[in-house]
């Protein structure tokens, strides 16, 4: 396997993990603009563990993710009191605070960055990414997924139906933060160096864009979105800024033509459920062709 191809695959796997981190809260109707902050907690947490206590990365990365989840738990109670745009801005503030805090922590290298000596290769990165995908898919096939979908579609109705809205939103928020932490840990241990500036608002925005482009209706959306928008720029030769121009223009056009994202429940049903094709113009009761 060529070095270039391997590099693209690693990037793809990490982006997919990040995308699922943003997807979980979005599936419950919450826009988390602080994903990069939670990724940073996972990255620095796991790197510190593997560096200082010589813990194997395969163990350190999940522990780092638990740190990210823990931070999310701490901020979830006050932050999730806010709603809509206020929630998005509160998560944005949390992400910025995490980044700023790392810049001020000497034992994490501050502004100079943090070199990571332990290394994980492509197989481990792919393994973690696959595990995240499988866990989220399984989770969304259970009552948890159905409840989240109900909350996303209409919070008030879900509440009336007896869904514990706040509980599910908190769970999705914390779980999403932990998943983003895994992505951060993978990034730290593959690229052997992390700096606070990498985990900026631009990263959070790109991750959220992957998910919304893929579509939030199904658990396949983040996978498709992250894959298409990681690989598409790679196909375009040319300067890095030109790739971003194409990416951004693609987002604008796609949002104008297909605001629900590339992949919707109806699309999946049309593609894979031959017995019950969707009727055009009729809203779908459920994603499973019933």
């Amino acid at each position: 396997m060529s070095g270039y191809f391997e590099g693209v695959l690693v990037l793809l796997a990490i982006n997919v993990v990040f995308a699922y981190g943003a997807y979980l809260p979005l599936a419950a109707g919450q826009l988390n603009l602080g994903i990069a902050g939670f990724a940073a907690v996972g990255a620095y947490g796991s790197a510190y563990l593997s560096d200082t206590f010589a813990i194997h990365p395969i163990l350190a990365i999940p522990i780092g993710a638990m740190f990210a989840g823990l931070i999310a738990l701490l901020v979830a109670v006050p932050v999730l009191r806010t709603r809509g745009i206020y929630l998005a801005l509160a998560t944005f503030a949390v992400g910025q605070i995490v980044r700023a805090a790392i810049l001020n922590l000497e034992f994490l290298g501050g502004a100079a960055g943090y070199p990571v000596s332990a290394f994980v290769g492509l197989p481990v990165v792919l393994g973690f990414a696959l595990a995240v995908i499988v866990v989220v898919m399984v989770l969304f096939a259970t009552r948890f997924g159905i409840a989240l979908r109900a909350v996303q579609d209409d919070e008030r109705v879900a509440d009336l139906m007896g869904v514990e809205v706040r509980g599910f939103q908190m769970a999705a928020f914390i779980l999403g933060a932990a998943v983003a932490g895994i992505g951060g840990g993978l990034y730290a241990h593959h690229f052997s160096y992390i700096e606070a500036q990498y985990f900026n608002i631009g990263l959070s925005i790109s991750i959220v864009l992957y998910v919304l482009l893929g579509g939030t209706q199904t658990a396949w959306g983040p996978l498709i979105g992250a894959t298409v928008f990681t690989l598409l720029p790679e196909l375009l030769r040319g300067s890095a800024s030109l790739r971003y121009v194409v990416f951004a223009a693609g987002v604008i056009v796609l949002m104008a033509l297909r605001p629900q994202g590339l992949l919707t429940r109806a699309t999946i049903q049309r593609l894979f459920d031959w017995r019950n094709p969707p009727i055009p113009g009729v809203p779908m009761a459920s994603g499973r062709g019933q």
Partner: protein
């Protein structure tokens, strides 16, 4: 020394305040968090530099930069609010984020990612009063923003367009029923937003004499903080919020160092969001923003 810090804080704060006014107008009237505004700020500053670099005299360069930014703002309007009315609430937000990326990377493609130096606007233009240094650009910036905001409040309170805008802020559907030409009136919001933001970018370029393609991000994020602290949708609140953020930043730098600034500013933002989400002054009710 403290006096000088306050002056520097107010200078920086008036830039944040103008960005915050643009943001707050957009969210107050359209319920739309316009993330392309940091990009418009950058366009204002960089277009000024590019026009001056091409040998165009100062007054024309300023006007040219404003025109370019307003045109960009109207393009954002076409593809966010106008096109996407009735789409899920996050769609305009996402598209405006994409516009921010688009503007930044077009600027890099054209002008490169280096820091550019803007020539001095006024030679020998510092006033010294009782040991304090007040730059003419600084003073001009503050006066400019106060005058513009006064003009904007007059527009909103006393003109036909202002009444139409307030109707749209209450309820766009009702406004449509009452015969308000929504598309025409809404473009006023984007023109004003583009004008304020670009002017802030130009003032920033004159005061600090350097521009680069990512100059909008830090300022835009602090403009968002200023908007929330002042109360979303409250124009005069945004001015106060901008001045608070500006002085907080300057004092944080001088007492704790530059790395501490973001911690102070965004910590303040988070505290306000949790304790008093409507801001210091009466902003809009959070209920309106329920998903």
């Amino acid at each position: 020394m403290i006096g000088q810090q306050i002056i520097n804080g107010v200078t920086l704060g008036s830039v944040y305040a103008m960005v915050a006014v643009a943001l707050t107008l957009s969210i107050g009237v359209l319920n739309f968090l316009n993330f392309s505004i940091p990009g418009l700020f950058m366009i204002g500053g960089m277009a000024l530099w590019a026009l001056l670099d091409a040998g165009i005299p100062w007054p024309l360069a300023v006007v040219g930069a404003l025109v370019i930014a307003v045109a960009a703002s109207l393009m954002v309007e076409r593809f966010t609010w106008r096109w996407l009315r009735g789409a899920p609430h996050f769609v305009p937000l996402v598209s405006s984020m994409a516009f921010l990326l688009l503007f930044e990377h077009i600027a890099i493609a054209y002008w490169g990612s280096d820091m550019r130096v803007v020539p001095e606007a006024f030679s020998g233009g510092d006033w010294r009063i009782a040991g304090l240094v007040i730059g003419i650009p600084q003073l001009m910036g503050l006066l400019c923003s106060i005058a513009l905001v006064a003009g904007l409040s007059w527009l909103l309170a006393s003109t036909r367009t202002g009444r139409a805008l307030r109707t749209i802020a209450e309820d766009p559907d009702t406004a449509l029923l009452l015969g308000v030409d929504i598309n025409r009136v809404v473009s006023v919001v984007f023109i004003v937003a583009g004008l304020f933001t670009a002017l802030a970018g130009i003032l920033f370029a004159i005061n600090y004499r350097q521009v680069h393609p990512f100059m909008g991000e830090a300022v835009g994020l602090k403009g968002i903080s200023a908007m929330i602290i002042g109360g979303m949708g409250n124009i005069w609140g945004s001015i106060v919020g901008g001045l608070i953020i500006g002085t907080t930043e300057v004092f944080a730098i001088s007492y704790f160092g530059a790395d501490f600034v973001d911690l102070a500013v965004f910590g303040l933002l988070l505290a306000i969001l949790i304790l008093r989400p409507t801001g210091l002054f009466r902003g809009m009710q959070p209920v309106r923003f329920g998903i």
